[in-house]
Symmetry: C2
Subunit: 327 residues, 2 copies
Amino acid sequence: MLPPIELLNFLKKEDNFLIATHINPDGDGLGSAIALSTALKKLGKETVLLCKDPVPNQYRFLPGQEKFITFGSFQPSAISHQLFRNLILIDCNDIDRIIDTSKTSNFSLPTSYFSVVIDHHESERPFGDIRWVMPDSAATGLMIFYIIKALGIQITEEMAVNLYSAIAVDTGNFRYENTTPEVLRVAADLKEAGAKSHVIYRELFESWSGGRFDLFMKVLNTLQKEDGIAIVQVTRRMFEETSTSPDDVEHFVEFPRIMKDVKVSVLFREIEDNCYKISLRSKDDINVARVAEAFGGGGHKNAAGCRIKADFETAKKEILVKVRALT
Amino acid sequence: MLPPIELLNFLKKEDNFLIATHINPDGDGLGSAIALSTALKKLGKETVLLCKDPVPNQYRFLPGQEKFITFGSFQPSAISHQLFRNLILIDCNDIDRIIDTSKTSNFSLPTSYFSVVIDHHESERPFGDIRWVMPDSAATGLMIFYIIKALGIQITEEMAVNLYSAIAVDTGNFRYENTTPEVLRVAADLKEAGAKSHVIYRELFESWSGGRFDLFMKVLNTLQKEDGIAIVQVTRRMFEETSTSPDDVEHFVEFPRIMKDVKVSVLFREIEDNCYKISLRSKDDINVARVAEAFGGGGHKNAAGCRIKADFETAKKEILVKVRALT
């Protein structure tokens, strides 16, 4: 994987960068952004790491995560123009993914700035003066690895931990179909550079609170199976009863796929009365992004999401009609 | 990792091999034995694959597993001497691990045979005319990979699937501490040779029956936590209620470790009245093999097992005393 020469030249030539990842940040976005920032600092550059939302608890072990500024802590009106001179979007490919301008009062984008996109998601809008979008890459972290190598910067332990985490999150610790031989070899290089994989695994996947475990049991106890479709439900009451929050539901939707006869797994999370956030996971060639898109959401073939404003039974019925049409 | 020259010479020189793996076979033993057998056949050798027990259901996807003969299907008295001329023990290091001679009537070992041991477990007895025992190797499958390479045999898809599965089982799909950079690079080579890792992952870890899922919920509902020690219990009645068998409990003991504050996880499986099989898992440097050894069992630092003849409460109390002494 070779980064575009104009991207490398841009990183070499400029001295100040605003590196931003998406709203509701995940391990790939955060780890990739931190690693790129750390690498650019080795070249004597100034960087600012930006994310609208705070770093979620499960990613607080990432070295350097404390450098992120969030919309709570920075004053957009005061420093935005300077910050936005060279904007690099990480793990997303449109300005709307880092800042919901319609909801952010006290903030206006500068009229002119240079923008770079480094992402592995399918892109819909042609945002970015330089765009490196690789849907075949398992993780943005993999792309950042090649940028750092191409810039001739030695991978430090801090970069290695961040990039390994980014890749581990987006490949389900090397279990998804996107785990290519290249992914495994880069992971090997990152281990040699100081990423302790079993420690990272534990931080990412084995750091549940007791409350989260109790929530998991409550959610799985709601399991219904119909024609290879598993349905589980999370209510606001369950969060209260277990002192947990919506962050704690991450990955739960994947679990019912452990059954051989489950082809699609759907999780309904109650957001407010008669409003559900729906997460979908599938096996093989069942494209649940099609289902999510039908309700104004989106995602990948095997992992997608959307919202429905309806009571649970109605929302379930609507989703099941669309899922059954696929299987 | 370089196989001993005398082992390679033995494999080149001889023409007939009995390749045996241990009682209660696992993915590493089975996959390693099949891959070695397949490779030796490429050199025009004759091989027989032997295991006392049938191949468990979850490993029936391994290509070549149908070639195993078990004590149910073969007549030891008739062919044992010919079979035993060149015995290769895989993933174990003593004759007692492949055949419990004290319990096998109608069978006596020949007085003379040549024996080879290829294993990554700590060895206690010096069995074997040629011994290649590598406790630092994550899996026996890794050692077989290097043997096949050293013999100049190209890795076929069948070998790749078997070796990848062997390594995936013994590294917990690359999440245990034994996942070295070398392990990841060999896995990359095996993917290039035809191992479809996401398919293998699903076969190994995501092929539960509905009954197994129900059993999992029942077992986790018994969870007790005391001082960082998680205790779960499986009764014979639970197997009946879910139409499952003891094989279905595999890996359940690992699950409570998902909680950050759980340092040791213990599963008690009822075998008969007042008799429990106990599985122990731990994090970091807590050596649960010490606990298992105190009750006549054994294992590795982070994974061990033993039996106790007592009622559940007594057995639990005895185990807890030993575990608390470690933590």
